[in-house]
Amino acid sequence: MNAPLMAGEVAAGSTPVGPVLHVRDLVKSYDGPVILRSVSFSAYAGVSLAVIGANGSGKSTLLKCLIRLTDPTSGQIEMLGQDVGALGPRALRRFRSRIGVVWQKHNLVPRLSALSNVLHGVQARMSGPRSWWQWAAPAEVRAEAMACLGRVGLADKALQRVDSLSGGQQQRVAIARMLMQRPEIVLADEPDASLDPQSGEDVMRLLSDLARQDGLTLIVISHRLEHTMAFSDRIIGLAGGQITLDVPTAQADPVKLRRFFDKPPE
């Protein structure tokens, strides 16, 4: 990529550095209709970016394009200094290992313990049997996994099977697995969507606190206005396959944001 990167405006309270993610003219269609028409935006190091948009507007598709879980039809994605579209299979794997993802569904392995699931995060930088199950892992890896569980407040549940935990606890285990990965950027796709309002808010707060503590860039799809306002530094809104809104959260007008949400909160 030879075009100079634009230095965008940066939210108050964060260190002004260049974008860690720069998306230009991203187009995506699955066989039929065009989902993303022309998406362009940037994300800055240590800044928490909320992506909002109505149901089916293509938020998840956008997130998947960023790490090539689905291939974009056209457009430029530059993330962590790499041209994502040009990565070969090996380079793509190395690149993905630097990006943490928290999904709407926790996607944990149900029959394994919380500790084993957290430990799987180490597979981003380590392979072989010692990264597969907690009982086979080296002491320092187990210790790090325990520390990650501790950060999400679940150290006492380490050996419990994850399918015996509550939804909120499962999502926190998934966050601990993401931490174990030592990511540089975190993508989150409605991590609170399948939880009750209180657990959902706890998970969003935890994620945003952890990102702040570690200086991580957080890109989070949000489906609740109050979460968007509370847990982001900057907001981009997706409508009609384009980014039609891009404002620092501090300057955002909640009334204008409403059209990006399906059910306006009362």
């Binding site: 790490i67 879980l69 793509l92 794997r93 190395r94 690149f95 993905r96 290992s97 990006i99 943490g100 993802v101 999904w103 569904k105 996607n107 944990l108 392995v109 149900p110 029959r111 394994l112 084993s116 799987h120 995060g121 597979q123 981003a124 392979s127 072989g128 049997p129 990264s131 597969w132 199950w133 998934a174 990965q181």
Partner: protein
């Protein structure tokens, strides 16, 4: 008075093609029976011989238990063949099954070959495999074990592959998204999820192996079947009955144990 509701016609109207198909099926059954089934008088004479004083059934009773210790040891050998064949078959079934799945196979061509081999192993009866391996390794239990092994690769390979295809893909995708290796995904996400199903299949394979191992001796591939054949050849029908009864006990015992374990696990 309630109005009479007309009943529907007894038979649906059929097309000419349907009549033709029915006629062909009837003709097929009739000619097959005429050509191969025993004639009535042949059956009559056979049954009479069976019950004659010097006949098979009369000679079987009372069963001859004089060589019960020898038979018991041969039964142990048969069980060992069954266990060895099932164990080897199950171990090799795992890689075959992985290569035969849509999601885990490294290449579609590899998948087609693996599926073809599994189907081939399953379709050829284990007695035929036994004859083949007698040519390769000579008479005796080794040929039987190899035959049971191939048969079990065909049996378990198919069910293992189905279990892996049915496993929730979320955890696998989550690991793939952080750059985990194929082996890492298989061992830390796929196998743990499939464990109950793998266990059930393995127990079925053992049962099938025990049932199959008794017959293998008839073609000389080791085990109790050898003694059964000798007993028949020497007209020792009373000893043959002992062998059959003891085989029955073994098979029923293994089936009972296996279903007890399955019930415990699921």
């Amino acid at each position: 008075m309630t109005q009479a509701i007309p009943a529907p016609p007894r038979f649906r109207h059929r097309t000419l093609t349907e009549y033709a198909v029915i006629l062909v099926v009837i003709a097929l059954v009739l000619t097959s029976v005429a050509n191969t089934a025993p004639s009535l008088d042949k059956l009559e004479r056979g049954v009479a011989r069976l019950f004659a004083p010097s006949g098979f059934l009369m000679q079987m009773f009372p069963p001859d238990f004089s060589r019960v210790e020898h038979i018991a040891w041969k039964l142990v050998e048969t069980l060992q063949m069954a266990v060895a064949g099932a164990a080897l078959g199950l171990i090799f079934a795992v890689p075959f099954a992985i290569l035969a799945t849509d999601r885990l196979s490294p290449h579609p061509a590899v998948k087609i070959v693996a599926r073809g081999l599994i189907a081939f192993f399953r379709t050829v009866p284990d007695l035929v495999w036994a004859i083949f391996f007698i040519i390769v390794v000579g008479l005796g239990p080794a040929a039987g074990v190899l035959a049971l092994m191939i048969d079990k690769i065909g049996f378990a390979g198919r069910f293992f592959a189905e279990a892996m295809e049915e496993a929730d893909t979320g955890p696998q995708d989550a690991l793939r998204a952080i750059g985990a290796s194929r082996m890492g995904i298989i061992f830390s996400a796929v196998f743990p999820a499939c464990l109950p199903s793998f266990t059930a299949t393995s127990l079925f394979a053992l049962e099938k192996s025990v049932r199959g191992s008794a017959a293998l001796g008839l073609v000389g591939a080791g085990g109790i079947g050898v003694d059964l054949k000798v007993a028949f050849d020497l007209f020792n029908y009373d000893e043959a009955l002992t062998i059959i009864l003891m085989m029955l006990v073994l098979v029923v015992a293994v089936e009972q144990a296996s279903s007890w374990i399955r019930a415990k696990l699921i």
